[in-house]
Symmetry: C2
Subunit: 638 residues, 2 copies
Amino acid sequence: METWSKTIRKLDVLSPVPTDIDIANSVTPLPISDIADSLNLSSNHYDLYGKYKAKVLLSVADELEDSTDGYYVVVAGITPTPLGEGKSTTTVGLCQALGAFLDKKVFTCIRQPSQGPTFGIKGGAAGGGYSQVIPMDEFNLHLTGDIHAITAANNLLAAAIDTRIFHEASQSDKALFNRLCPLNKDGTRSFAKVMLKRFEKLGISIPENHNDLTPDEIRRFARLDIDPESITWHRVMDVNDRFLRKITVGQGPNEKEMFRETCFDISVASEIMAVLALTTSLADMRDRLGRMVVGNSKAGEPITADDLGIGGALTVLMKDAINPTLMQTLEGTPVLVHAGPFANIAHGNSSIVADKIALKLVGPGGFVVTEAGFGADIGAEKFMNIKCRYSGLVPQCAVIVATVRALKMHGGGPEVVAGRPLDHAYLSENVGLVEAGCVNLAKHISNTKIYGVNVVVAVNMFSTDSQAELDVVKTAAMAAGAFDAVICTHHAHGGKGAIELGIAVQSACERQSEAMRFLYPLDISIKEKIYAIAKSYGAVGVEYSDQAEKQIEMYTKQGFSDLPICMAKTQYSFSHNPSQKGAPSGFILPIRDVRASIGAGFIYPLVGTMSTMPGLPTRPCFFDIDIDLATGKVVGLS
Amino acid sequence: METWSKTIRKLDVLSPVPTDIDIANSVTPLPISDIADSLNLSSNHYDLYGKYKAKVLLSVADELEDSTDGYYVVVAGITPTPLGEGKSTTTVGLCQALGAFLDKKVFTCIRQPSQGPTFGIKGGAAGGGYSQVIPMDEFNLHLTGDIHAITAANNLLAAAIDTRIFHEASQSDKALFNRLCPLNKDGTRSFAKVMLKRFEKLGISIPENHNDLTPDEIRRFARLDIDPESITWHRVMDVNDRFLRKITVGQGPNEKEMFRETCFDISVASEIMAVLALTTSLADMRDRLGRMVVGNSKAGEPITADDLGIGGALTVLMKDAINPTLMQTLEGTPVLVHAGPFANIAHGNSSIVADKIALKLVGPGGFVVTEAGFGADIGAEKFMNIKCRYSGLVPQCAVIVATVRALKMHGGGPEVVAGRPLDHAYLSENVGLVEAGCVNLAKHISNTKIYGVNVVVAVNMFSTDSQAELDVVKTAAMAAGAFDAVICTHHAHGGKGAIELGIAVQSACERQSEAMRFLYPLDISIKEKIYAIAKSYGAVGVEYSDQAEKQIEMYTKQGFSDLPICMAKTQYSFSHNPSQKGAPSGFILPIRDVRASIGAGFIYPLVGTMSTMPGLPTRPCFFDIDIDLATGKVVGLS
């Protein structure tokens, strides 16, 4: 098999490991056109965005439609500490091992991070140490503008909703109709193409002479009659701005006191982000954007973006965003960065189109490694039941990333809090805590095996881990049914530190034999689907609030009950209670509310309160971020 | 002189003139790298953004520092009707004539349009007919992300302001200090570099041992004590969203009832846009962004972005936006698109850096044609007194675009309203109305001659104009002191329709002999400067509201009185009253309020109410905008 080795870069690894930005800046990336060349992509297959980023055009997938896919590997994790257990870093490190040391064709498929946390508390998300996507500043800032396009599209739709209500309130049916579809000089009417969809939805056939439309037909067409209380569409911004969590709009002197309480979410929480991640083609994206539901009419009918006449314009705003962005790892292997939906109110996985293109490009014997957000209880479950269901793609292997630190926490170790020093228990050997905590790992393994994949456990090693502790994890993983369990040091050593993981993943893919299974079929009731997922968490039952009951009834009545379920649950426990570590069981899962992203294609029950707009701390990351005016390089990005 | 003729494209002109998007789609643009090649730019000088756009790097200006500039031409207009008189179209048409028919090296420097109006009522802004910048959809949508970068930077700063007030309210001086500058393990403190600027501003020298800082010094450093009532920094969005004109933020349960009334402006109204347009280098942009004033402390001291610790992060967000975007006209001449500040609350001119780069690239005997927003009373005045003052560049020629239609309005013709059919007076010959209206043109000519440039009048001809009407305009223009006055048909014929204009502009540049003059010096008082501008409008005096008096006093006390003045006045009259057509005189100019953009570098008095957030009509443009799924092309963009 031909390899892509000509772009491979040898790393000079330092110890102790320098900061992420220093490592990233120490390497001169290859021109991204060199990476594209190595993939046999010609300049017609991609658009450059500067020297180190390119958008790979969807047409590549069409051209390669008849080629065979490579192996499809998903990286998930155990229930993490608030510090994170290195899932992105492991995803990148595994790819560097497969590409730079094991001579495989390999693609990393990864999410675009939100800019909000980059300037807030979290810093960047390009991996870490010697396993990173570069240039890391370009990865973390703007990238190729996809999130900005989502913000623009989301907020155009939001403006359209309030303005439509405003105009409907002051105009008669006839005036409204005449403004929406003005009379031309020749007596015809200017119906926009998108309006024909609404006529069709309403079952009104436009008569040859538009003057024959009845007043009732005109009213039904022209008056969306949106119930302001029912609006679920929020404005968004890619900034951590807590003061926008609840606001009142429409207080200007010309808005006729049509005040409305609403909020801003962070942009990655927009349904348009979820659409981008789950769409399969430009035509499919046009459909999904058009059928997004923004609220109900006062009669209880769902109102869509196409009812507002805006589905086409949203697609135009998103037409470049649908193409994934090609970048590279520190060791010169190719990366596709694309989409980054929330992992709670959405499904937390990078895009289907990126995975599809990558699977064709690596071809038989090659590997596509894609990451699922949060712990495997949420991330892998949604990867399988939502993303793979929509894509039709079948994974052969799931990698579950574990750390001794997190396992100690699950075994009863003291609370881990971001920004506070770690307790002694985490910095010295404590085999007992690790052993006790492995129930969490075991449950993630057995849960993930349900889907018919081989599970490989990657123990992301820290310098404070002892051999005895690491051995315990390996033994527990194998006992729980893992295909293999290996220790990795890719943070400190790059791909070299994940060679054993790479070999295990290759073997797991080659020897995978089961058919893929879903956790639930689509044609059962919303509650049955929720129960199936709750059981997988360890729950013995589900409890619904009145609001949740009402919503389930409404969505069922509206014909949306066939959609998959996207649980909005904490990542810090299998249960709804973040302080329940390990593998809790016997609990009743409470569903506070149920919402839907109809265009993206899922129902999302809320298990507890989900914040969709982070805040800034007293000293946000932005204090340290600046340009070195002598070199033009970004400093202070972590 | 070597020319750039190898990229010139011959147009096949149809009659009647097709729609703008149809004309734009009928031409296959050259790869932008071909345009760059023709300019002798190597791939190190620019970054591609897809096939038809490239960002030209600022380093080009540094490399060419010692070369001689070409001729510098500004295009302004008479007082327009609400339909616009074709200033952008004339700018592009003139360049197509100079480049494609007169063998000159020529660059068009033009503003990036806001996406809000594109989806609202106005449509695109790439010129029109056979004088356009292409691809027009890419020009009007996203471009290379500069406005998105401005939105992101503006809103990060906005979030930082409210969050800082929030954190200060709940923390003691010491706790605040410890969080802002945490203690390291070795006993040192983590001062961010930007914090040193604040210590310096406060006159506090950090003692060798930071523990020797006095409680008073700690308080003064850590507590910005922003007066919420004084905040002038608004959030922005590049969408026409009237419901954000006045809002209340901070109503979430965790924001401690720190409600605040504020608003969103459209993104192009952000001071950061004005900074981008007026900056001259990366280091200068870093300074300007850092010194932007967002409000006052309760003691009345101005609080800057650098006081908030965010100037560096804003620069990082804007580091690519500082590079202008290279595109092309329909006839293959090069265009730089860069910045698009509001023409009322800001100065309404494209960027200094684009003009500087273009002047070096065309070199001696070449032409840079740049457009000034609104009528010449505002656009040309600000071009001269603000933009040229900051750039040090000297124009040789000003083109004033006039139409018979607008002159008839100034001569007493009926009101012209967008969206309503034109009155008969505008569609048939009426020499008397034209003659009477020429006072408006004459005043713009004499006002513009003050700056020491030759003035060429371009009459943008419509099919309904009669020869007698056109002759009247020419005669009046010459009588008012124009260097030349010519009839142009570039909308219908492309560059060929502006050959005579091109020859006149060349002659005006070659024969310009006066030194450049400003309307006012900087070292007089704010009121004296305002009076100088008011006089140029025809006013005999200026009247200040109490609020305006208070603000002038405050800015003077704060040391900002040396800045140039940027009048926020209607473009529909020389006076403050849009219904006063022609050349009104003897009026008193009322100043309602006075504000400042300290980072951008100007004081802006408000003459009447300026809307900084447009709305959407009942049938916005977005109804017709869609993707043709068969070709992938945008349809319905006007």
